[in-house]
């Protein structure tokens, strides 16, 4: 009895409070945006794409104050349901991290033409990986060759000046699978290394894998046996094996996508793909009403690609640092254009 009376009192109080609230706010509330992020199977703690994408989401959230939600995909079976989850709730933007989700984004974006989608490193495609060109899908691409060129320039300079380990003018690159993003990195790397050291030989190998470090370690070991003393990994989780192999053989390695200096002491530099910048930009476009379907490309010119070089033993010599700065400035200005295809 007493409890129910209390409840009535509570309802009355709540009604009053609501009425008061209505009286207080004259202007209609601003639209609250809903942004959803779906990771690939790497999960949020992958220290790479998913982690960076979430970082960009958090940064945008602090600035634009919207509601956000993240779902980590546990398996490839989850991509479609997870994207559909956000889309069916009429989210304003659904971000898919990684090219593994291309087909899923193609399917779901066709079902929900009024929901905006953004996908890192890919497009909304059919099963044959043809871009469906849905007007509600924004592709966030990167000029990996820009970042690849920066670390390639570093490798070339070190070989030229004899500051590497063996100094036999041999460097290596280990790719996961020969797909465009991987080959772009390697293209820029080889091109820039040759710019600075025309004598350099660039060994290129593929592990046909993005997960298993053992496979990449095997490829890396072969390259080290071929006198390579700077190894660039372009193979995601598999590539950690490259960094380890370099560490065990006491040669240098170069990380990819995120700054990987914590992964192994052999890492002297990393080629950066700033997924956080691209995610932030995609969100900003939506909340400011500037969303456009099609491709958005991130490069050194718009700070969407870059390089980290702060882990060279004893610090990088000042002249190399200056040279890299001017090299980056030339790419930024467009006087130098790293190629997208691996030079012969």
């Amino acid at each position: 009895m007493g409890l129910s009376r209390l409840r009535y009192l509570g309802v009355a109080a709540l009604t009053l409070a609501l009425l008061a609230g209505c009286g207080g706010t004259a202007a209609p509330p601003a639209k609250v945006y809903n942004i959803g992020l779906v990771t690939d199977i790497g999960g949020l703690n992958d220290k790479s794409f998913n982690y960076l994408a979430n970082l960009g989401l958090e940064r945008a959230k602090a600035e634009f104050k919207f509601k956000s939600s993240v779902i980590e995909s546990k398996s490839g079976d989850d991509y479609v349901p997870n994207l559909t989850n956000f889309a069916s709730k009429n989210y304003d933007l659904v971000i898919a991290v990684g090219f593994l989700m291309q087909q899923a984004v193609g399917t779901v974006s066709g079902q929900f033409p009024n929901v905006h989608f953004a996908i890192i490193d890919g497009a909304g495609t059919d099963a044959k990986f043809n871009d469906l060109k849905h007007s509600n899908v924004q592709s966030l691409y990167f000029k990996e060759q820009d970042a690849g060129a920066m670390v390639g320039a570093l490798a070339g300079l070190l070989e030229k000046q004899g500051k590497a380990v063996k100094n036999k003018h041999v460097i290596g690159a280990v790719g996961g699978i020969s797909i465009p993003p991987v080959d772009h990195y390697i293209a820029g790397y080889k091109w820039a290394a040759l710019q600075y050291d025309p004598m350099v030989k660039v060994l290129i190998g593929y592990s046909n894998d993005f997960q298993d470090p053992a496979k990449c370690k095997g490829v890396a070991t072969n390259q080290i046996a071929g006198n390579a003393d700077i190894l660039f990994q372009v193979a995601g989780g598999c590539g950690l094996g490259v960094l380890q192999a370099a560490g065990q053989a006491h040669v240098y390695s170069i990380g990819v996508d995120a700054d990987q200096k914590d992964a192994d002491p052999s890492v002297i530099a990393s080629a950066l793909k700033k997924v956080d910048v691209s995610t932030y930009t995609a969100i900003k476009n939506v909340v400011t009403g500037n969303f456009q379907g099609g491709a958005l490309t991130f490069s050194i010119a718009n700070d969407g690609a870059g390089y980290a070089i702060d882990n060279f033993p004893g610090g990088l010599p000042a002249d190399i640092k200056t040279e890299l700065d001017s090299f980056a400035a030339k790419i930024k200005a467009g006087t130098l254009t790293p190629p997208a295809d691996i030079p012969k």
Binding site: P81, N85, A127
Partner: protein, 376 residues
């Protein structure tokens, strides 16, 4: 009459005590883990129930969509559950359902892309049968090795899982099944090889408030349910089922009763592999239509072991356990988006369920040990 009904009900209740207790135990411990790590267990479980069964949703989810997703996840668990349960009844532990599923999906894709122009009445049976045969062959290897040279099926099936995984990797990464464009995926099977979905795949038709193409439940569900029914029928109503159960309870007694134990082992593994291979073919024909790198990390065949143990190897039990695991899989995403609890909690719950069932096995072992020690 009433008494016998009461007795059978009591028997069922006693049988269900262990699995139901395990699930309750898992959810209580999981709830404590959520609470200790600063989350709200009730919000977490509300998300799970919403995502798994389409009930009590708070985040604006569409109940029909959630139910449809859960059924899609449940379907392969039913068939692979049978693939683990049947050998289990014969005293064999089939850890290889995953590998058998993979070769089934490979066969389905190989046939479905090679003969992609054939009409559905010919091609669909071909891909499903091809998947079943491939799975049977894969499990048959382990069965023959067990029956002839006594190689333990746990070891051989685990190893065959790796062979299947790497075979698939070879085939779609630079191998003969790879689609053009240099991706780690195969081409799509022809339209005649695809299982129909229950609702039309039409983006403009609105059903339950959403485009009907988002509902992915496909005819494979009925194949899966028929597979479980067939399993129960074979096990309890046929001479083969008797031989399987006899072999499982005591090989020596079975031999004395005139059962050919090696033959039973081989036949059991062949049938089990066929179910797992069919499951892989149905997954391709009903949902994915092509092999992609997601199959590298597929775990259906391993989840099936948990489904079988939780379902106590019975037909009804497998259905109930598969529904639970399918619902958990589908619910994890909603739990994360609505309650902000990592979807990894689902893996914790599955592990806890398995753990407590295994612990129950231990307790029956313990009962036996003192009796042995008391013997003169």
């Amino acid at each position: 009459m009433a008494a016998s009904l009461l007795a059978s009900m009591r028997r069922i209740a006693r049988g269900m005590a262990v699995p139901v207790g395990s699930v309750i135990f898992a959810f209580v411990v999981g709830g404590v883990i959520v609470a200790v790590t600063g989350g709200d267990p009730f919000a977490a479980y509300q998300g799970l129930v919403c995502g798994g069964f389409g009930l009590i949703c708070s985040g604006g989810e569409n109940p029909a969509l959630q139910l449809s997703n859960a059924i899609v996840f449940t379907t392969p668990l039913l068939m692979t559950g049978v693939a683990v349960a049947l050998p289990f009844r014969a005293g064999l532990f089939n850890i290889g359902a995953e590998g058998q599923l993979l070769v089934g999906s490979i066969a389905c894709v190989a046939i479905g892309t090679q003969f992609s122009t054939l009409p559905a009445p010919i091609l669909l049976p071909m891909v499903l049968l091809g998947g079943a045969l491939a799975g049977a062959f894969w499990a048959g290897i382990a069965g023959v090795l067990k029956a002839t040279v006594g190689a333990h099926e746990v070891v051989t099936t685990i190893m065959l899982n790796y062979v299947a995984q790497w075979l698939m990797r070879f085939l779609i990464v630079g191998g003969p099944l790879q689609a053009p464009h240099g991706f780690s995926a195969s081409a799509s099977i022809g339209s005649g090889a695809r299982l129909p979905t229950l609702l039309p795949q039409d983006n403009s038709l609105i059903i339950f408030g959403l485009p009907s193409s988002v509902f992915r439940v496909h005819a494979g569900l009925f194949i899966a349910l028929a597979a479980v029914a067939l399993f129960a029928f074979v096990l309890w109503r046929t001479p083969l089922g008797y031989e399987i159960r006899a072999t499982g309870q005591s090989q020596r007694a079975a031999r004395y009763a005139g059962v050919s134990v090696p033959r039973t082992i081989i036949v059991t593994m062949l049938i089990a592999g066929a179910f797992a291979g069919l499951s892989g073919a149905v997954q391709i024909a009903g949902v994915d239509h092509n092999l992609t790198d997601k199959y590298f990390s597929d775990t259906t065949g391993f989840d099936a072991i948990a489904v079988t143990l939780l379902g106590l190897g019975s037909g009804v039990g497998i259905i109930l356990a598969a529904i639970l695991f399918g619902a958990l899989h589908a619910g994890g995403a909603v739990m994360q988006s609505d309650a902000g609890i990592s979807g990894n909690l689902v893996l914790v719950l599955q592990a806890l369920i398995l753990f407590s069932i295994a612990a129950n096995f231990l307790s029956t072992l313990k009962f036996r040990i003192p009796r042995l020690s008391r013997a003169p």
